[in-house]
Symmetry: C2
Subunit: 292 residues, 2 copies
């Protein structure tokens, strides 16, 4: 694409007629403040790595036990001084204690995967899109979600989903090793690994590292690991240092218009709209809270 190519998407908005269904940017622009949800700081992780800060939202509604354990690990500064240890092409970036021997403090050493899924009773907003993996897909509080015919729901592994590393035993994950998906959505991990949140900002600090040449993409030499300076809970960050973010609500007509625009990119200046969009290609809008 030349520079002009995708700029066309922005230019076409100038010609946008109010009576037409909106394009992606117009769908966001025409939302109201009530269409956005300010993220609870108690659910945010601030991870300082690679000269920047990755902001992650935890999802206790899907994984209360894991989130509780990770909050304990973070508060006790478990992650400070750990590192990114694995970058596997088109799959995952994983971080934590490379030695796998660092004491977990008062956190649990093992959190059962089974206790976290499948979650019933979540406020699921379905989108009418076909999916290769599940009969129904949609969102719960901004997290991409699939549902079976019995109403059991689970968070899906899309790009930027936060997952818990574990060994073979399904209760061997503590949250001391975390990963995020960096390529095509590895949906075969759904329900096999605990999906517990997603990266809201700073994915470029997790993806742009040399791929590990060891088995599974682990770095073979200590010097290759990327240091993590520290990880803090949003609610422990002094107010003056906080990065206040809001996420578009996924249970509103405004979000439905956004999904519709993603499925019909001809409204954004493309020649042909596909009349469809994959669940994992709907990146829920995130933006800084406007300061008055």
């Amino acid at each position: 694409m030349k520079r002009l190519a995708l700029a066309a998407a922005a230019l076409s908005l100038a010609a946008f007629a109010p009576a037409s269904p909106p394009g992606t940017a117009a769908a966001i622009a025409s939302s109201t403040p009530a269409d956005w949800r300010r993220v609870d700081p108690a659910n945010l992780l601030y991870m300082e790595v690679g000269g920047g800060t990755v902001i992650i939202e935890l999802a206790p509604q899907f994984a209360p036990l894991h989130v509780d354990n990770i909050r304990t690990l973070v508060r006790e500064r478990f992650f400070d001084g750990t590192s990114i240890n694995r970058v596997q092409e088109n799959y995952v970036t994983q971080w934590g204690d490379a030695t796998e021997k660092k004491p977990l403090g008062s956190a649990k050493a093992a959190v059962p995967l089974e206790g976290e899924r499948p979650a019933k009773g979540l406020a699921f907003t379905r989108i009418r899109q076909r999916d290769a993996y599940a009969p129904r897909v949609g969102f719960v509080d901004g997290f991409p979600t699939a549902m079976d015919r019995k109403g059991n729901a689970w968070m899906t592994h899309c790009y930027a989903t936060l997952g818990v590393g574990r060994g073979e035993a399904t209760d061997s994950g503590s949250g001391a090793e975390l990963f995020t998906s960096i390529g095509q959505a590895p949906r075969h991990l759904d329900r096999n690994y605990a999906a517990i949140g997603k990266v809201l900002q700073g994915m470029e600090l997790l993806t742009a590292w040399p791929r590990g040449t060891g088995p599974l993409g682990f770095y073979e030499r200590e010097a290759q690991r990327v240091p993590i300076k520290r990880v803090r809970l949003g609610s422990d960050v002094p107010p003056a240092e906080r990065i206040e973010l809001e996420v578009m609500r996924t249970d509103t007509p405004a979000f439905a218009a956004f999904v519709d625009a993603r499925a019909n990119r001809d409204r954004d200046g493309f020649l042909i709209g596909m009349k469809g969009v994959d669940l994992c290609n709907i990146r829920v809008p995130v933006r800084p809270v406007a300061t008055p």
Copy 2:
């Protein structure tokens, strides 16, 4: 995932009972030489970048005009000394002449997108998977492909698909600027940009670069660009230097077994098989040709 986690996939093969449907690795292992296609060197690009060689297969069956033009550009050494100029997170890596002024030699300056699609009469092998973008999906000669109800087929933009950059005019792409998809499949580009091949080997040489901070992920400073030493056509590479690759044929029962295994990863040691797989999560196996 701890080190043990994905190793389980390999370990489980030891316990694989011959009467069961095969897992992914077993499906490949039980293929015969006739299930593989040696890639025609006239369709290969060897691109030397980042200290390694990216191997790309061109698809003249989808894009004869573009492929012809790119062969001309390569033969006249257009790409030697150009660079990667754009890396946009979860979207594309793009390379070519950053000045957009380098003479195109005897290549055409403009190849119409319309002439290349939709392609009828290709040997399309359908896979029985749901897709958000098209009523039918499958493969043509190893390339991921979608088809409408009239039988028109087009190559899809999956991870590693090779695309042609262009300006707003649909005949403004020459092949002098190329891109590949580096994240979640940007399927909304399907039929909007010419998809003309795919990267068979060396994606890690295209994805692990700092993301550009300019508009659309372009690098803002010349020093950030990643030099491309040279690009050669496979058929122009001296036989002793060639990297002989073969791609699994996608029109065989062996490949159908591979797809089935990808859709049912419980056979690979996962707890739950999703009974489905996205077109773009089926990475067609590629391997070096065994030397006798």
